[in-house]
């Protein structure tokens, strides 16, 4: 862990209880976590473990009911209002009435940037995700993988240092997913952003992350945090090395331990 760098995300004793018709549901309980600048942190766990909820709390899309969270040294709400992060959802969520370039330009429009500034940033981010030439297309004219790349471009467009990704490649097939994983790593290496990445795929988590946060359900909590010993440069075939497999085994053990009291 890059312990000396300032914390981008710091959570302590974080808890969130949803009030539902079937009584209260503890989605997060007692989460302590510090994420430093430039880290790539994956959250992995079975469904219901609160990994998406945790990401939404960081993004101020949910309010915690106990504990504290700070993002870039501010409260989560202040950070959201300062547009401190870009968020990538499970689906591309592009607006079908806007072309790709106008979708990518959406946050820039809302921030009120000048047309020239918008055009320049749109061009730069579309280059970053290899979507040059598709500026004038509508989302429904693109494949699922390209749509998700456009949504990543949209999250990158306003240059936030923090990127929150909620199973962004979950709906894509494995070939496209491998390709996008590679591109994401390359992008991370080039931009030095901090990335929080929710996934339910062990190989994906191990391949991408500098740190893997293993979570378990009922109540949603962090059951293990695993530091990756893999180098920053990771070709796809690193996934066959013993080092990679050892980390994957540790993650699997962590997941099983979190589950052990379950029937």
């Amino acid at each position: 862990m890059t312990g000396t760098s300032p914390a981008v995300v710091a959570a302590s004793k974080l808890g969130l209880t949803f009030q539902t018709n079937d009584g209260p549901v503890q989605a997060l309980s007692n989460v302590d976590l510090t994420i430093g600048k430039g880290e790539f942190v994956s959250f992995i766990g079975p469904s219901g473990c609160g990994k998406t909820t945790l990401l939404r709390v960081i993004a101020d899309l949910e309010k915690p009911t106990s504990g504290t969270i700070s993002v870039n040294g501010m409260t989560a709400e202040q950070a959201r209002e300062k547009r401190a992060y870009g968020y990538v959802f499970q689906a591309a969520a592009l607006f079908p009435w806007r072309t790709i370039e106008r979708n990518v330009g959406l946050p820039l429009e809302i921030m009120g940037l000048s047309k020239a500034e918008q055009a320049q940033r749109i061009k730069r981010t579309l280059d970053l995700v290899n979507l040059r030439g598709f500026e004038k297309k509508y989302p429904w004219q693109l494949s699922g993988g390209m749509q998700q790349r456009a949504s990543i471009a949209r999250a990158l467009a306003f240059d936030a240092d923090l990127l929150l990704m909620d199973e962004p490649f979950g709906a894509l097939d494995e070939i496209v997913r491998d390709h996008l994983n590679e591109q994401l790593l390359e992008l991370w290496g080039r931009t030095n952003k901090t990335i929080c990445f929710v996934t339910h795929s062990i190989p994906e988590a191990v391949y991408l992350s500098t740190r893997i946060v293993v979570m378990s359900p009922r109540p949603g909590r962090v059951s293990d945090i695993i530091e990756s010993t893999l180098p920053k440069q990771r070709p796809l075939d690193i996934r066959e090395t013993p080092e990679f497999l050892a980390i994957a085994a540790r993650v699997r053990d962590g997941l099983r331990a979190g589950h052990s009291y379950d029937d």
Binding site: L61, G86, Y87, A93, F95, P96, W97, I110, W140
Partner: protein
Amino acid sequence: MKAPMYSWQASLAFLLVIFPIVVFVTNVGVPGLAWPYSGFSGGLAIALVTLPAWFSGRLLKLWEAALCFVCAHGAAVLLLGGIRGHEGTAGPGYYLVLASAWLLAWRCVAILSEQRPLSRLASTALRLIIPAIFGAWILIIWEAVTRGAGIPFILLPPPSAIGARIASSLPVLGADVRQTIFKAVIFGYVVGSGTGFLVAIAADRVPFLRRGLLPIGNMVSALPIIGVAPIMVMWFGFDWQSKAAVVIIMTFFPMLVNTVAGLAASGHMERDLMRTYASGYWQTLLKLRLPAAAPFIFNALKINSTLALIGAIVAEFFGTPVVGMGFRISTEVGRMNIDMVWAEIAVAALAGSVFYGVVALVERAVTFWHPSVRGG
């Protein structure tokens, strides 16, 4: 070595025409017989329907369609000419020839409907030709039956008489359209739909309006127009303003309900996305929720286009200056001028279709992105 492929329409047309052929051939030269046995035009009509019925299976599809088209319509023209001046005298031969001609036209439309044209021009032409033939035959059968059976003018005038009435009353019809559509309908439609839209946004923004106003709006939609119209005449006078008021009441609610539903139509993910951009209420409304609501709003605009016309015409039954489509219908019915009533109905139908069509075209242009428009 290909056996002819007979369609059931052509075969049935041929069977139907056997009887007229036999009667015609056995009575050549006998004076005083009713059409189609009376002379050259009847014989030609019989020959015209026999020809494609006989040949249809042996031709290329498109030639068959063309032959059916020409012969069916030729026979129809001869048939309508033959009955003129002899209304109410038609015998079985007349209806048999009519039925076979109609079957051949059916065959023609059936072939055209199967075509999958490659060029845009041809497909546009087909989209127009098929309903045109279809509509023409509704008129032909209407005309042939009313004249052939001598149906009293009061019950159902033939379309040709309605057409003649339209042609001879253009100034009156024009004045009525100006009064009813260009004043009452357009004004009421714009104001009614506009307020429905604005109130929907207000109700979305202000919770107490949503809780309090929407149920009341439900009640307004249930108001019987027949009861409201005379009250509006009391309030706003005899001229078009009272009719516009009725139209406003009728169009307000569909727009309100649809816009409220439309504003709820944008997905959670999209709204969360706008939240991550710290987008304000109005920006989210303009950039996400209104575009997502557009299909609903256009639905209301289409519903309202026909409601507005009905409302204005019915409202005119309850007092109006001596002009207007509803006024004309109510007075001409009293004077037994049924053809004028039909003329107004035809004009109202045409105006309503044009109104609806224009709204639908704008809808296609604005919601081009919606799966129902882009097709997939």
